[in-house]
């Protein structure tokens, strides 16, 4: 079974330690929200888990193989990665950008085999981009672009998805649309690890929440177990009211 595992993983940058002994596991069927304030080490942890960043201690494996030892193509077939920075250098068409998700299968924009074309069409349909597929990406809104990036990630047909702030800078409606798309992926047998800053959104969609502070994983469990007013005060320094999965943040402490 596909899984992404880190065990006691630490990351150093110069003399600073960005992540201390982080242990987490992602398997299909889960939508895991990774939460924590800016600078908590979420992005570093994700990158090291994927083998994109050097770890200083611990383990990171993808389907049992050390993720630093995987070739970029092998990694891309096991997990789709949506980084925080998502620049598009050229005004390509939507379909061509989504087609880049098939890179690990030897495909290229304008050169898609039958299975590649099918995966691209499905990803476009899944992210509700059918009417936009021939549009140039520089003519799209932020919400549409976010869906293009999701479609690019899904086109890889990887069993796992790691997304770093996929809903940053989106309006509420588009936040829900993107998270609905991620949930559909999980309902269809995928596993998703998503960095989120909107706690209410995370509580609504996540099957599990991983809380980070100062480079350490503080808690890991269902929203019912780990989402408490005390935790929000501890991690974010905010005063909040929590009732089951609903959260209302009242202000800074």
């Amino acid at each position: 079974m596909a899984d992404l595992v880190t065990q006691d993983l630490s990351i150093d940058a110069g003399s600073a330690t960005l992540v201390h002994g982080a242990t987490l596991r992602l398997v299909p069927g889960e939508l895991v929200a990774l939460l924590g304030p800016n600078g908590a080490g979420k992005t570093s942890l994700l990158r090291a888990a994927l083998g994109l960043e050097k770890r200083s201690a611990g383990l990171a494996t993808l389907d049992g193989t050390d993720s630093e030892k995987l070739s970029p193509m092998q990694r891309a077939r096991r997990v789709a990665y949506l980084p925080q920075q998502r620049p598009l250098a050229w005004p390509n068409t939507v379909r061509d950008v989504v087609a880049l998700g098939r890179f690990a299968y030897g495909a290229a924009p304008g050169r898609l085999g039958p299975s590649d074309a099918e995966a691209v069409d499905q990803a476009i349909a899944r992210c509700d981009l059918t009417g936009l597929s021939d549009r140039q990406t520089d003519t799209l809104s932020g919400g549409e672009l976010a869906r293009v990036h999701c479609a690019r990630a899904f086109a890889a047909d990887a069993p796992l998805l790691v997304a770093d702030e996929p809903v940053a800078a989106l309006d509420p409606r588009h936040q829900f649309r993107v998270m609905d798309i991620v949930r559909q992926f999980v309902d269809g047998g995928g596993g998703a690890l998503v960095v989120l800053h909107d706690i209410a959104l995370a509580a609504r969609y996540a099957t599990r929440m991983i809380w980070m502070k100062d480079g350490r994983i503080i808690a890991d469990g269902s929203p019912e177990d780990t989402l408490t007013a005390e935790r929000l005060a501890d991690i974010y320094g905010v005063r909040a009211r929590v009732a089951g999965r609903t959260v209302e943040i009242e202000g800074a402490l």
């Binding site: 193509m73 920075q85 998502r86 620049p87 050229w90 924009p109």
Partner: protein, 330 residues
């Protein structure tokens, strides 16, 4: 976009026509019939000499040098994700012509006909590698272009120094050729010595072009979709260095063709860097053949240098592209 399928055949046909036209035109215009006869071995010796020894090699040299700059420009633009990247702008051509000049100046080039192209390629590789190293450390394209300007200025200053010290007017005029770029008096022999490097460079660039498309997503996401970034950088730098060095060995430093051709091509290939390589090469070759015909036909006392004409057309285009660019990624 429709008409994409016709782009490469149309450019190839236009290039062939321009090469043929270059054989027709000149100080003694020849009718098409005589050129055809000379090309296929049926004309008198004088016609054959003009076509085979003078006009065809010169036109071919212009085409090949331009094509190498076009494919290098398109690849570097894909790697650096910027439409202003080009061997000339980034100082690669200047560095190549400096190394070529040094090899001429110290007489090393006389040792073997391979010395000059290899020196030019070394110069091109040094500059390309510097730019690629800087590209790892900075995301700012302005910084990269400034580094290119620095390399160009340094190479220019070193060339001026060599010119100051030039022992004979003959060496001096040789150096001016390298600095300004010209395909006058080229023979098939010189094309032959540059050809292996040009072909190797073009082959490397074409083989690694798929990664340039992935880089559209930025480096982080490109490695996420399966691109080996390190290898891509090495291959593009090596390919562009070989091709640009070969082009400089043949024709000296000719700027801006590598920027103008990909810029015109991009909308026809849906802005996909990988698919812009071959059409950009053909178009850049075509532009230089046409510019060289212009150089030959202009009634000036001293023949204009091809590189000067290319810069006169290309530099304003560069400024125009730079001004129209939205400040999206610095």
């Amino acid at each position: 976009m429709t008409g994409n399928r016709l782009l490469i055949p149309a450019l190839a046909a236009a290039s062939l026509m321009a090469l043929f036209a270059a054989c027709l035109l000149g100080s003694t215009p020849m009718p098409a019939g005589r050129v055809l006869a000379a090309l296929f071995g049926g004309a008198d010796a004088a016609d054959q000499l003009v076509v085979w020894q003078i006009r065809l090699p010169r036109a071919l040299a212009a085409f090949v040098a331009g094509a190498a700059l076009g494919i290098s420009g398109a690849s570097l633009q894909g790697l650096l994700r910027n439409p202003l990247a080009e061997p000339g702008v980034l100082g690669v051509s200047a560095s190549a012509s400096l190394f070529a000049t040094v090899s001429l100046y110290y007489g090393v080039a006389a040792l073997s006909p391979w010395v000059l192209p290899i020196a030019a390629i070394l110069g091109a590789l040094v500059a390309t590698a510097l730019i690629a190293l800087a590209a790892i450390r900075t995301r700012s394209v302005v910084t990269l272009i400034l580094i290119g300007v620095g390399i160009s200025s340094f190479a220019g200053a070193a060339m001026s120094l060599l010119m100051n010290l030039a022992p004979t007017p003959f060496t001096l005029s040789d150096m001016i050729n390298w600095m300004l770029g010209s395909v006058a008096n080229r023979s098939f022999r010189e094309i032959g010595f540059a050809a292996p490097f040009l072909m190797a460079g073009a082959a490397i660039l074409l083989a690694s072009r798929r990664g340039l498309s992935a880089l559209t997503l930025g480096e982080e996401a490109a490695s996420g979709v399966g691109l080996n970034l390190r290898n891509q950088r090495i291959l593009t730098v090596l390919g562009a260095g070989l091709a640009t060095g070969g082009s400089v060995a043949l024709a000296g430093a000719i700027g801006f063709v590598g920027i103008v051709a990909p810029h015109i091509i991009r909308p026809f290939v849906n802005h996909d860097p990988a698919r812009s390589l071959i059409p950009s090469a053909l178009l850049a070759g075509l532009i230089l053949v046409l510019a060289d015909i212009g150089v030959r036909l202009l009634p000036t006392t001293n023949e204009l240098k091809l590189g000067v004409v290319a810069a006169l057309i290309g530099a304003p285009a560069f400024v125009w592209i730079a001004m129209r660019r939205r400040a999206l990624n610095g």
